[in-house]
Each structure stands twice: as structure tokens, then as C-alpha cells.
């Protein structure tokens, strides 16, 4: 269309465009799920299991029902025939299953348990009352009589032949298993000059978004459907789960996301509460809200990581990798709807950015009596990266070369890329690292650590032991199967764009608007983006796995380009006006022509809906460099400086890319130094408040220097790669390496996360002893 009305020359993609979201967030006008309740909204509270394992003998709800303001009290027995359990969210492609002999157990997550409890925090009953406080008053009076069972809280214990089973109907506690690789590891490693082995553990932690979860649902009698607002990254999955559990049809359920206060993976899951609240709204004919509080979040929201890895790296006398093998146990707690994705991620990212001739991976996901597990930023990748990078540090020491040198020698070079691995990705397509030059990122990190920076830091933090460490990562981003988008010209010449990728803080309104505006040839002010709404687009996948910019962004680009082409074709065909002629109407003129009574009214509406299906994932690679100071008197570590150099695609909005990476680094720092969900042997959670679960604060996250190096991204029309997890994956390994450097201890001393001050103090003191 003619640009005379909406004159704009430079493309918006690639610009530091200030976010459209910021105005409302800065002024307190954001509308999060809890902001959608009114004084007449009913509040639900879930009574949760207080035992990690056992049988419910009886539940007495009489006193609760008698409480003032209580409208309903329901138990699992009450809902047994009504709400079916929730099934798995991801099943891998057949080629992947074959290549990895992948198997997974058949479990589903019950909405409310009926007899057997599996973890502390599992929903047992629900109370609906006039206020949250009243519902809590009543829930306290519900008397649950348990026959305690024996809990298993580690995957090793759970795999013992005599271990109590977490799920009664299964023969053992194995949730999933896989085995795969290439080459011949045993034969190759036999003759290697150096073989290093490590036993690693990544502690259980998670996204812990600042906004807890929450659901507000109401029954719309006029449209005959339930409107569900939920703080999720995957509204379409939630709709599917509600329909599957209740038996309602798709047209009876509308799911939308309000502003979502952080997701990071735990909200890329569907939960019993979402189904139960939707059901209650319809049952009671009232608006019902459940707003998870922080105490609940610690037991009721899905957690992540929690892997044990045994690894062996063999290198030749010059430090070149000969073979690499990993055997891991993933503790998925009482269950995970993402078990296939998590175990596959660890397996598929184990090879890393290196030249690995022989590779073998064996993975087992195991049930324990702990909170359920979902993805958490990285979702199996940080674990794989930690094992490999720790072993590389050890091998460097064994081969007598530096930690940088061993990486320099093994990283895939420009002439080796793109690199195809003889393994299928989760989508069945053989893995191809579509990178440019993996050594570039390492070198860029090195260049960003001048000697005088270390001197400056030493002067600023006298008395601290300083050290630096590096680690690299690869990540498959932008996975399918598809994302959908829709665009519609409104009567005033502006556009409404809908995308299946829900937003949980990733700036979608801005970045999708940039893409749409460029494709339509209009300024951003002419584009309104709606995400996370099953009314906006009928189908969608959601935001997770660094996929939204790639897949959602491409879908937006595609439908907007098509709409523009269609408008021009329409104008040419119906009005006889040539493209780019001076008579070409503006978009608002087209809007008027399409309105009732207009010349083009019969052609209305002008809208395009479509999907983008990526052929497979596009890989990113990056290097992280951490400078850490450890206080020798206390063993308390602080990350003082950080560099991320990554090979990405087109930056839709460099400010957003920076924010994603910096935020990712902050979460990685939390994981390596502070955060862990801890459990007692009987399965009782020991992490119940933010005094025990420590989130990184403003003094814990250093300035993060980001180097963006463009790499090829030919698998999507906008040339982008995902960036959501780039900041997180390698932090664990880089910081662990830096701590070892600071404490001058042997490589591989640190094997588990979080690295506690007591551990660092032990090392600091023993190295002092050793030097004396």
C-alpha cells in the first residue's frame, strides 16, 4: 500500500525500539492475573498433601463446609468421575525414539488425588469461599487422615530393586529411558592418553517467577463457554488439557493470558489447578479465582534440573577429544509432563560445540516423592553443559594445557560448519549445527577480559581470591512443530496481530510488532499485538524452548507479508490501481473501502491466518566467561564480571536480546551459587520461604558484557535464532571453573550445584594448608 500516510523508510527489525509494554508496567497499569479479580470473585484454596508418600484413609470436610463464606468443598473422590488426569505434553518423533531406544512410562497427573499421595504439595481438596482469607480459614479445618508411606527422595534410592514405588500402577520408578550415540566409545577411549571421569550433580531449582501462578475463570452463559485467564506460557495447551480432562469441546473453553509476571519454564506446563478452577467456575456459575501464594509455589509449581551425571572424557596427548560418554539420572519428582523433552534435551546437547568422534549417552528419568518437574530455562541443557565443560577443565589439566587451549583445539571451526551429527533431533531430523565459527565466541570472550580489568577488580575487592573461567554451549532453538499467527486490517487502517506464542515478559508485543510493521510497511503504532489468547489464534504452541522469536516471529512475518500482497492484489484487481503508483490507496483508505458500503465491502474482512512450520531447529552457540571473587574468610563467592559472546541470528530488537541474555545469566548465577529446593529424607520440603530459597539480588549479578556475533540462520524467513536460554546454559560451568581458578584447586573439584560457601571455605583452607 501507499506509504504516503505512514511514511517510514528504515526497517524496525534490528533497532533498539523501546518496548511498547513499558508504559503500562512502569506506571502500574499492567494487568496480571491477580489484577483481574473483583469484589464478587470467589476464591479457591487448595488443601495440599502434607505427606510425601502414603494413603489417604479419610478426609473430613464437615467443619470446613460450616465456615462462614464457604460455597464449596470438594475432594478427589467428589471429582473422580468428572475430571480425568492430565496427560503428557510432549512425545518425541518416531525417528528419535528408534535412534535412542526411547521409552517412557504412562502416567498422568491427577487433578485432585483420591487415595494415594505422591509429594508434599499435591492437591488433595479445594475450598471455594468469598475471600482468600476465608477459604484459608476453612481449609485449615479439613482433617485428612493419612497412612504414611515410605518416601524415596533420590533417584539412586528409587532405582533400588526393593524401593517403594512412587506410582502404584507402574512396575518400577523409571519415568523414561534412552540410550544412543555414535562411534565406538569403549574401543576409542581404551587407547586415549588421558581419561578423566566425573560424577556431577545439578541441584533442584527452578524459574521461581516473581509472580506466582494463578487462574481466574468464569462461566459465560450467553456464549456457553468458560473463560479462563491463567498465568501461563502455553494457553493452547491449557485449553487442550481442560477439554481432555472435562470432556468439554474446544468451543466451550476460552483460555487467555493476562500480563504474565515471568515464566521461565514452570509456567510452560499445565496444572491441575487450571482444570479444577475452570470446572468450578462452570459448576458454580460464578467467577472463581485461585491465586497461588509463595508458600504454595515452593511445593506446587513444577521444579527443574535435579540431575546426576556420570561422565568420562578421553583426550589424546594434545588434548583433542577422543570420546565422550555420559550417563545421567534425571529426578523428575512425582512426575513430569515434559519428561521426554527434558531427557532428550540432555542427551541431544551433550556433544556440545566440539569435535567429538565417539559419543555415547544413557539417560534415565526417575520418579521420586518430590514436587513435579517441568522445563526450566535450559531444560536439561545446563546439566549436559556442566558435565562436559567440567570434564574439559579436568582434561586440560591432565594434558597440561590451559582451559582456553583445550577448547580452542576442540571447538568446531568455520570450515567444519555446518556440522551434521549422526543423531536425529527430537523432531526426527538429523542434527545439523548451522553455525559459522565456534572459536570466534571463545576468542571474543578472551578479548573482553583485559588484564587491567582483573587488576581493577583486585583493587576494588581486596582480600578476595579472584579467578576466571570459561565454558561454551550449544542450543537447539526455535523448535516446531509450528506456531500460528493472524493479522487483520481494521477499519481505521491499523492492524491487529495475533500470535500463538504467549508472552511472559519476553517483549513480544514489541518484537512481533516490529516484524509485523516491517512486513506491512507501516509504523509500529499501526500494529496492535495480541498474544496468549485462544480467541486471537485458534491454534498455537506457546513460549518456551527459545522458540517464540524464531517460530512465532516467522509466523507473524508470513501472515503480514501475505496480507500486504493480498491487499495490493485486491486493489489492483478491483480498483485497477497499480502497485506503487501514486494513486495507490493508504491502509486507512483500504479500511474504509472494505467497510460496509465501501467499494471493496464484498472482499472484507482483509485478514490472513497461517502457521510457520520450521524444517527443524536452528542451533546457537556461545561462550561464557566469568570472573569470580571468593572471600577466603567465609567462602562466599561473588561473580564480579561476566562476558557472553554468542552466535545468534538477526537481532529483532538488540535491547531485548541484551535483556534476555543478562536475565539468563542472573538465573544461572542463582543456580550455581544460591538456589536449591531441598528435601528431608522423608520428602518434607526444607525450602519453604525466600529465607531458604535464595534468589540473586542486585549485589549478586555483575555487569554482563554481551558480544553478538551474527551466524547463519537460514531456516526461517526472518533469519533469527532463539536467545531465551543463551544466557543461562553455560553459567554453571563457567562460574564453577572460575571458582576453582580463584581457589587454585584441581580442576573438577567442584562437582555439584549450588556450590556452597562451606565447600569453598573448605577448599580455601585446605589449599592454604597445602601451601604451608
Amino acid at each position: 500500500m501507499s506509504a504516503n500516510e505512514n511514511a517510514r523508510v528504515a526497517p524496525l527489525v534490528g533497532q533498539h525500539v523501546q518496548r511498547g509494554e513499558d508504559l503500562r508496567f512502569a506506571t502500574g497499569q499492567g494487568r496480571f492475573v491477580a489484577d483481574h479479580v473483583s469484589t464478587t470473585t470467589l476464591h479457591a484454596v487448595f488443601l495440599r498433601a502434607t505427606q510425601a508418600a502414603g494413603q489417604i484413609r479419610s478426609i473430613d470436610t464437615l467443619a470446613a463446609r460450616d465456615c462462614p463464606g464457604v460455597l464449596a468443598v470438594l475432594t478427589g473422590t467428589d471429582l473422580a468421575g468428572t475430571l480425568a488426569p492430565i496427560g503428557a505434553l510432549h512425545e518425541p518423533n518416531e525417528a528419535f525414539v528408534d535412534a535412542f531406544s526411547f521409552q517412557m512410562a504412562d502416567i498422568a497427573i491427577p487433578c485432585l488425588v483420591t487415595d494415594r499421595v505422591h509429594y508434599v504439595g499435591e492437591p488433595v481438596a479445594v475450598v471455594v469461599a468469598e475471600s482468600r482469607a476465608m477459604a484459608e480459614d476453612a481449609a485449615e479445618l479439613i482433617d485428612v487422615d493419612y497412612t504414611p508411606g515410605t518416601a524415596v527422595t533420590t533417584p539412586q534410592a528409587a532405582l533400588e530393586p526393593a524401593a517403594p514405588r512412587v506410582h502404584e500402577h507402574l512396575p518400577d520408578n523409571i519415568a523414561a529411558s534412552l540410550r544412543g550415540g555414535f562411534g565406538d566409545v569403549p574401543a576409542a577411549s581404551k587407547g586415549a592418553a588421558h581419561r578423566v571421569t566425573g560424577r556431577f550433580r545439578m541441584g533442584r531449582h527452578s524459574g521461581v517467577p516473581l509472580e506466582c501462578r494463578g487462574v481466574v475463570a468464569s462461566w459465560d452463559p450467553a456464549r456457553g463457554r468458560v473463560d479462563v485467564r491463567t498465568s501461563t506460557q502455553v494457553p493452547h495447551f491449557v485449553r487442550t488439557a481442560i477439554c481432555a480432562s472435562t470432556g468439554w469441546s474446544v468451543s466451550e473453553v476460552h483460555v487467555s493470558t493476562p500480563d504474565v509476571g515471568g515464566g521461565f519454564g514452570p509456567k510452560a506446563n499445565v496444572y491441575a489447578e487450571e482444570v479444577v478452577i475452570a470446572y468450578l467456575a462452570r459448576l458454580l456459575g460464578r467467577e472463581v479465582a485461585w491465586l497461588e501464594d509463595r508458600a504454595e509455589h515452593f511445593v506446587a509449581s513444577a521444579q527443574g534440573r535435579d540431575q546426576h551425571l556420570d561422565a568420562e572424557l578421553a583426550v589424546d596427548s594434545t588434548g583433542h577429544i577422543v570420546s565422550w560418554s555420559v550417563e545421567f539420572l534425571a529426578d523428575v519428582g512425582a512426575g513430569s509432563l515434559w519428561v521426554a523433552g527434558i531427557t532428550a534435551n540432555t542427551a541431544l546437547h551433550s556433544v556440545g560445540a566440539y569435535r567429538v568422534p565417539h559419543f555415547q549417552v544413557v539417560g534415565t528419568a526417575v520418579y521420586t516423592n518430590k514436587t513435579i518437574v517441568a522445563q526450566y530455562r535450559g531444560a536439561g541443557r545446563p546439566e549436559a553443559c556442566f558435565a562436559l565443560e567440567r570434564c574439559l577443565d579436568m582434561a586440560a589439566e591432565a594434558a597440561g594445557i590451559s582451559r582456553l587451549e583445550i577448547r580452542e583445539r576442540n571447538l568446531l571451526r568455520a570450515e567444519e560448519l555446518p556440522k551434521r551429527l549422526p543423531l536425529p533431533y527430537r523432531d526426527g531430523v538429523p542434527i545439523t549445527y548451522d553455525g559459522a565459527d565456534f572459536r570466534r565466541c571463545l576468542r571474543a570472550c578472551e578479548q573482553r577480559l583485559p588484564d587491567d580489568l582483573l587488576d581493577t577488580l583486585r583493587a576494588r575487592y581486596p582480600g578476595m581470591y579472584l579467578g576466571s573461567g570459561v565454558a561454551t554451549y550449544v542450543e537447539a532453538t526455535g523448535r516446531g512443530p509450528y506456531e500460528s499467527a493472524t493479522v487483520r486490517l481494521l477499519a481505521d487502517g491499523t492492524f491487529e496481530v495475533g500470535v500463538g506464542s504467549a508472552c511472559a515478559g519476553q517483549s513480544h508485543e514489541t518484537t512481533f510488532a516490529q516484524i509485523a510493521a516491517d512486513a506491512l510497511g507501516v509504523p509500529m503504532s499501526a500494529v496492535r499485538v495480541r498474544t496468549g489468547d485462544t480467541d486471537a489464534v485458534a491454534d498455537g504452541i506457546g513460549s518456551f524452548a527459545s522458540r517464540s522469536a524464531v517460530v512465532g516471529g516467522s509466523a507473524v512475518h508470513r501472515v503480514c507479508s501475505q496480507l500486504r500482497a493480498r491487499a495490493r492484489e485486491l486493489v489492483a484487481r478491483c480498483l485497477g490501481i497499480e502497485q506503487d503508483s501514486e494513486h495507490e490507496p493508504t491502509w486507512s483508505e483500504v479500511g474504509r473501502l472494505l467497510a460496509p458500503g465501501g467499494e471493496l465491502a464484498e472482499q472484507a474482512p482483509l485478514s490472513v491466518t497461517g502457521t510457520f512450520e520450521p524444517p527443524t531447529v536452528t542451533w546457537t552457540m556461545g561462550a561464557h566467561l566469568a570472573v569470580v571473587g571468593v572471600a577466603p574468610e567465609t567462602g562466599i563467592a561473588r561473580v564480579l564480571h561476566y562476558v557472553v559472546a554468542h552466535e545468534g541470528g538477526v537481532e529483532i530488537n538488540p535491547t531485548v536480546v541484551l535483556g534476555q541474555i543478562r536475565g539468563g545469566v542472573a538465573q544461572g548465577i542463582g543456580g550455581i551459587l544460591l538456589e536449591e529446593f531441598d528435601y528431608a529424607d522423608d520428602g518434607q520440603p526444607a525450602t519453604a520461604t525466600f529465607a531458604e530459597y535464595l534468589l540473586p539480588g542486585s549485589c549478586d549479578v555483575p555487569p554482563v558484557d554481551v558480544v553478538h556475533l551474527p551466524g547463519p540462520a537460514q531456516l526461517n524467513p526472518i533469519g533469527v535464532k532463539g536467545v531465551g536460554e543463551s544466557g543461562t546454559i553455560a553459567v554453571y560451568a563457567a562460574v564453577a571453573s572460575a571458582i576453582e581458578d580463584a581457589l587454585s584447586c584441581p580442576a573438577g573439584t567442584l562437582t555439584s550445584t549450588p556450590v556452597l560457601p562451606s565447600t569453598m571455605l573448605d577448599i580455601a583452607e585446605s589449599s592454604v594448608d597445602a601451601s604451608v
Partner: protein, 168 residues
């Protein structure tokens, strides 16, 4: 149990309401007054999302009862915008420096920064980090909030060293 009459000024408006004694200031602001900009992230005083100004000083509204602030003057994030609804100085600095992602912690940062700026002290970066340590942000890694604070409290307003084209 007892209901309490509270009489206070919020964002320049005087309110008188009868509320349950157990009602927190945060819930009062959100549920009774509809000022939902004040967010509840932990309800035990750690995350800082619910920070408001009570008689000009920052406070956790989850660790205050509405009854306690009867007679006080409260300002929330909504009251820190310009009268026409456009962002105030602190609010726009936070946005300009990329200090906002999901927006949930933002009201707490706006309030904490407002107090910091009002104190009028020149702060170095470490002092700023310490001053903001009571506000948790899970998205940004604090880069933008600290850059905003440096601009607002520094000797040389502007954003030296900022790698975002923040226009200041």
C-alpha cells in the same frame, strides 16, 4: 473478629473504609481501592514487589496492616506517574534503560528508586546495588535498574556506559 475503620490518603485521595483487622495494606490497596499496581510476590517481605511509600518512606505493604496506616499518606506506583498518566521521571528512566521485562517487580523498583532519588545523595554503583538489594527482579539481571539509578542519582545525569540507545 474486629473490623477497623481506616482513614488515609492514597495518591492524593482521601479514603475511609471499614476493613477486617487482618487485611494487609497491599490487599487493601489492591482489593478495596483497585490500585493493582502494587504486586504481591511473596507476602513475607523479601521480594519487594509490594513496596509503597508510607509518609514518604518505602515500606513493604505485605508487612503492614491497613489498620496500621490509618492516618498516613500512601503513594503507590500509580501515584508516581505524571498527572496526565504519562510516566514520571523514575518510571521513564527505568523503561529507557531496559529495566523492565515482565513488569511484575517494576512497581517496587519504581518506589524504591523514587525514595532513593528523593534522598538526594550522590551514590556510586556499589551503593546503588546495596540500596536496591531489597527488590528482587527475576528477568533483567538488574542492569537496567542500576543504569537508571546511576542516571538519576549520579553526579552527571545522562547514561555514560549504557549500551542501549536510551536517548538520554
Amino acid at each position: 473478629m474486629s473490623d477497623i475503620v481506616v482513614d488515609l490518603e492514597v495518591n492524593g485521595v482521601r479514603y475511609e473504609r471499614t476493613v477486617p483487622a487482618r487485611l494487609s495494606l497491599a490487599d487493601f490497596l489492591r482489593d478495596s481501592l483497585g490500585l493493582t499496581g502494587t504486586h504481591l510476590g511473596c507476602e513475607h517481605g523479601v521480594c519487594g514487589s509490594c513496596t509503597v511509600l508510607v509518609d514518604g518512606r518505602s515500606a513493604r505493604s505485605c508487612l503492614l496492616l491497613a489498620a496500621q496506616v490509618s492516618g498516613a499518606t500512601v503513594r503507590t506506583v500509580e501515584g508516581l506517574a505524571e498527572s496526565d498518566g504519562s510516566p514520571g521521571t523514575v518510571q521513564s528512566a527505568l523503561a529507557r534503560h531496559g529495566g523492565i521485562q515482565c513488569g511484575f517487580c517494576t512497581p517496587g523498583f519504581v518506589v524504591a528508586l523514587t525514595e532513593l532519588v528523593a534522598e538526594g545523595k550522590e551514590l556510586d554503583e556499589e551503593e546503588i546495588r546495596e540500596a536496591l538489594s531489597g527488590n528482587i527482579c527475576r528477568c533483567t539481571g538488574y542492569h537496567g535498574a542500576i543504569a537508571a539509578a546511576v542516571e538519576l542519582t549520579g553526579p552527571d545525569p545522562g547514561c555514560a556506559g549504557c549500551d542501549q540507545e536510551c536517548g538520554s
